[in-house]
């Protein structure tokens, strides 16, 4: 269920590496399902500098509110307006139309601190 080509953080965010040092960031299906219906997504603005594992925003569902933590350092290139305007897309497709940010990576070696899909699934099993 978690795409094998992505990297994952312990805070249940994912990273998709794109050409030119660009990374796409979102929350995992596990996170989206745990939250339930997402009603608000608060994200940083284009141009903001993020530091790996630092707070980058907030996500609220009907039942709860959580901080969002960036899995990588970098500069925000693009914010998914779809996710902020129609937050239900995060539930509908957390790995596709529900992506949150595109950033230019500061340091690609930070990817080493993230988990593969297999590792993330083992991590989830351990959580339960």
């Amino acid at each position: 269920m978690n795409p094998p080509d992505l990297m994952y953080s312990e805070e249940h965010e994912w990273v998709r590496s794109r050409p030119g040092g660009v990374a796409e960031i979102g929350i995992t299906e596990f996170a989206a399902e745990s939250l339930g219906d997402v009603v608000f997504v608060e994200l940083p603005s284009v141009g903001e500098e993020l530091t790996q594992f630092g707070k980058m925003g907030e996500i609220e569902s009907v039942k709860t509110v959580s901080d969002l933590f960036t899995p990588l350092s970098g500069k925000v290139l693009e914010v998914n307006a779809n996710a902020t305007d129609s937050p239900e897309v995060v539930n509908e497709g957390p790995y596709e139309k529900g992506w949150l940010l595109r950033i230019s990576m500061t340091d690609e070696s930070e990817l080493d601190k993230l988990m593969s899909a297999d590792q993330y699934e083992a991590f989830l099993a351990f959580q339960e």
């Binding site: 339930g36 219906d37 009603v39 608060e42 907030e58 609220e60 009907v62 039942k63 509110v65 339960e128």
Partner: protein, 366 residues
């Protein structure tokens, strides 16, 4: 996640699991918080019909020649004046006027009543009742385990249930009840609910609950969990005990004075409530809408600039109104409709405005 063995299960537990319900601990019971999703379930109740297992709520039968006299001591409404086959919303208040619980009382006969306290408060209610039972000839039977309770709510609910019962559901008034059969099962059928929609609540034997649930599902009612129930009751301006009221607040602060008849000689909380009524209160429960992003939540501070003036008791995103709504206690000077204050949303001050309750009513918003 395995639930502790001590959690109780309703007779509909297996159905919830088979429907993919997400089971959570709630007031000592293992209950579904959602199936498809809270927002989808809330919409189903506003547009069609939903089905809630509310078997965790208490069911106390009070029978005997002293039953009415006993309830007159502990309930906030005129019990002898309650007609047979009628129900009333009311409060159970302590000696100081604090709210131990809110409940529905049904009169099923001259000497026969049914009281429905909240799941979390059933023990506290029983303890309070036991203090006021002396010298009266009645019997109190806790039938919570022996029975089940299903809330069937939504604009299409009464039509659906009408196809399953010989009783003329259209003649069943709001807050009226009848003993009849539903889906071939003996049932107490009442036109009550906690969603702000038309609908019924059914009390049947625990064994028979799955039959009734399946029959209503086949008519098109959507299974709904506690999550959507909480959103719907808040939209309808209905208070939740434990969130919006408890023994530290009285009915006048909570805006529930119309459900209180304090001028009754035998009423245990009467003296305190008369004094509170005559002296007035310093704070009031208000409903507010948020002018900004985010969801106000239980426990968030209500601010006037740098000053904390109160606390949010309930809050949610309202799918029906597409805005964020909440309730909380504020000093009476801030309680008028149109008053402004801010909610401290995790360090972010967001403007809020007092509005009339309910937020949603099926007449107003139809």
């Amino acid at each position: 996640m395995a639930a502790p063995d001590s959690l109780r299960r309703t007779s509909l537990f297996d159905i919830h699991v088979s429907l993919g319900g997400r089971m959570v601990p709630f007031a000592g019971w293992e209950m579904p918080v959602q199936y498809e999703g809270i927002l989808a379930e809330a919409r189903a109740v506003r547009s069609g019909a939903g089905l809630f297992d509310v078997s965790h709520m208490g069911r106390l039968e009070i029978t005997g020649p002293g039953a009415a006299g006993f309830l007159e001591r502990v309930l906030s409404v005129d019990v002898p004046g309650l007609r047979q086959w009628r129900a009333r919303y009311n409060l159970i208040c302590d000696e100081g006027g604090g709210i131990i619980d809110d409940c529905i009382v049904y009169r099923l006969g001259d000497e026969r009543f049914l009281v429905i306290p909240n799941a979390a408060n059933t023990d506290a209610v029983l303890e309070w009742f036991s203090k006021w039972d002396s010298g009266l000839d009645f019997e109190l039977q806790n039938v919570t385990e022996a029975t089940a309770m299903i809330a069937h709510q939504g604009p299409q609910a009464s039509d659906m249930v009408a196809g399953l019962t010989p009783y003329d559901v259209t003649s069943l008034k709001m807050f009226a009840a009848a003993e009849t059969e539903v889906a071939g099962v003996k049932a107490l059928l009442a036109r009550t609910g906690y969603t702000g929609e038309d609908g019924v609540e059914l009390i049947v034997s625990a064994d028979a609950a799955p039959t009734v649930w399946r029959a209503l599902s086949e008519k098109g009612a959507v299974p709904c969990g506690l999550g959507s129930r909480d959103v719907l009751r808040l939209e309808a301006g209905l208070l939740l005990h434990g969130n919006d009221m408890d023994t530290s607040v009285n009915p006048y602060e909570a805006g529930l004075e119309k459900f209180v008849a304090p001028d009754r000689d035998r009423y245990a909380a009467g003296e305190s409530l008369r004094r509170i009524r005559d002296q007035g209160v310093g704070r009031k429960l208000v409903g507010f809408i948020l002018h900004g992003k985010g969801v106000p939540r239980h426990g968030y501070d209500i601010m006037d600039g740098p000053n904390r003036i109160g606390e949010v008791t309930s809050g949610s995103h309202s799918p029906t109104l597409d805005m964020s709504i909440g309730m909380g206690y504020v000093p009476t000077g801030y309680a008028a409709v149109g008053s402004r204050f801010q909610i401290d949303m995790r360090g972010r001050a967001v403007d809020a405005e007092v509005t009339t309750l309910p937020f949603y009513s099926r007449r107003k918003n139809a």
